[in-house]
């Protein structure tokens, strides 16, 4: 039984249309004209307990609107949703006890007080039994190295330290589901790594369901086996990360370093993607030709110093999906 289920979820916002200039501003003030825009359009998906799902989309795709509906602070225009058996906006407080939330851009810690005080307050808000609280705090403190700055006022923490604190804060009450919104934004490589390890361990140890929205697809590659791609308020892909790579990552790049300069380079079934000095990137579709055939042709025609094959990363696959649309995934370049 899914822990999160949405069926044809839809959210329409009404906003004032503003025409440019002072006249437009005045017109909007006295005789506003409204425009309706669907931020989320017929989004249906189901998430099983214990899954880590990457919820991915460009800015304004409807990610945070969906998250707000799942956390119960936004009422959908139509459609149904259930989170851990509850309709979130009808049972906001009970739903809040089931979920944990981390916003990369926003802290839920008390700015002026030591980390420890914020944790204490959260213990009281979520009514976590003292023993369970101590146990969780000890465990998270180990995993995230919190001890050294536990008594430092939050305003004096670095971004990495603050985010580690925020993660512990979101998990202290053993939520069934955590929503992570851009959790690694602005962090350095080490801090990103610590956070990703934490997420994957909590998920493995406690079976916590994780919904992850991020721009950093490395987060997704590292953590999620499943992704839901959303664009313009619609789901354009929902499935295994691997399948995405299989289906849409049909292009590979052959990076060739030539031993001498050629005026023109032409290889069958490959397109010159870029050319910098003697290094040329040739893109090809693995369904049209094989790397082996390509390499053989290049070796026959030219004198070569070095050669390498580059697999597409998730980022470039997703970028192509947004640019070209889901339907054109099968078309050759």
């Amino acid at each position: 039984m899914p822990i999160i289920e949405t069926v044809e979820l839809r959210k329409v916002f009404r906003s004032i249309v503003r025409r440019p200039g002072l006249g437009g501003a005045l017109a909007a003030l006295f005789a506003p004209r409204y425009e309706e825009k669907a931020a989320v359009e017929n989004v249906s998906f189901a998430v099983e307990p214990g899954e880590i799902v990457g919820y991915i989309g460009p800015n304004g795709a409807g990610k945070s609107t969906t998250i707000k509906m799942l956390t119960g602070i936004l009422v959908p225009t139509s459609g149904t949703l259930r989170v851990a058996g509850l309709v979130p906006h009808e049972r906001r407080v009970e739903n809040a006890e089931n979920i944990g939330v981390v916003f990369g851009q926003r802290s839920q810690l008390y700015w002026d007080l030591p980390l420890r005080e914020s944790f204490n307050l959260l213990r009281s808000i979520y009514d976590v039994p003292r023993e369970r609280y101590d146990e969780n705090l000890r465990r998270f403190s180990d995993m995230l190295d919190l001890e050294e700055f536990m008594d430092t006022p939050v305003r004096q923490l670095s971004l990495g330290e603050r985010m580690r604190g925020d993660f512990a804060a979101a998990m202290l009450h053993d939520p069934k589901i955590v929503f992570l919104d851009e959790p690694t934004i602005g962090l350095d490589v080490l801090a990103k790594d610590a956070i990703r390890n934490f997420i994957s361990e909590v998920n493995r140890e406690r079976g916590t369901t994780v919904i992850l929205t991020t721009h950093d697809l490395a987060d997704v590659e590292r953590l999620a086996r499943r992704i839901i791609l959303i664009d313009d308020g619609r789901v354009i892909y929902d499935g295994a990360l691997e399948r995405l790579r299989e289906e849409f990552g049909t292009h590979r790049t052959l990076v060739v370093t030539f031993a001498r300069a050629y005026d023109e380079i032409a290889v069958n079934n490959a397109v010159v993607e870029s050319r910098e000095g003697s290094v040329v990137r040739l893109r090809f579709d693995r369904r049209m030709t094989s790397a082996e055939a390509l390499v053989r042709e290049v070796l026959e025609k030219y004198s070569i110093a070095d050669i390498a094959i580059v697999e597409p990363d998730i980022e470039s696959i997703v970028r192509r999906l947004y640019l070209d649309g889901y339907g054109s995934g099968d078309a050759p370049a």
Binding site: T65, I73, L74, V75, R106, D112, L121
Partner: protein, 272 residues
Amino acid sequence: MIAARPRRRRRLAPYWEVMKVAIAREATYRFGVFASLAAFFMRVYLLRMVWLALYAHNAAPRDLPLHTILSYATVALLMGLVLDIDQTRALHDRLHDGSIATDFMKPISVPLFFFADGTGEVLFRIILLVPALALALTLVRIDVPSPAVAAAFALSFTLGYFVGFFLNFILNCTAFWTLEISAVQLIVTWLTDLLGGEIVPLALFPAGLARVAYALPFAAMFSTPLCIYTGLLQPAQYAGAMGLQALWLVLLAAISAVLWRAGARRVVVQGG
């Protein structure tokens, strides 16, 4: 299977914690404490100078001998130490920067959360009353009323405190729609200072203006308790005066509830 937790009765422990945290937070700004104490001393001194100068050149009004007006002005400043606090400023701040959304993601009553936070701040500031009161008693030698009058004053002050609380809450709630409220807040501060009788007793106003001012909620904050303290109101008039305070309290609380509900609805429907 996921069984929904049974609905629990509202626990007060979190709000108690929030209040304690707010006290601890205020305590981290020690400079602010000393600065507001210094500001208090200065205002007491300056107002005393003004009244002394005015009374030196004019005949004292019949009901307001010099020692009464000095008590009035000093007690008004003492009350201001508590009443001038915008307890629910956090609501406006969090609406302004959008973090109100995360407050709604917690299993708490959001208005109670802000109420507890503001109460903590007020409780901390009350500490300031100790040195301030000592100064008022020793240097200005304010009148000390009889225990019965003091009790009436305490009750009236409490009513006034909550009138002020809801007035501020209403202003902070308007940030649901406007996001920015500082101009309106400034106007209300001026109105409270002048029409509330915080600086000049309403008894010195022209009769028509005084009648209007007495009926407004600003007078319910300052003027009514002050008139009880200084004896400008006789015990026979207490019930009527405090009844008016209570009326404002109920009215403003009702408006607060309506505004909060509409504002929260706006957040959940329009996304803030």
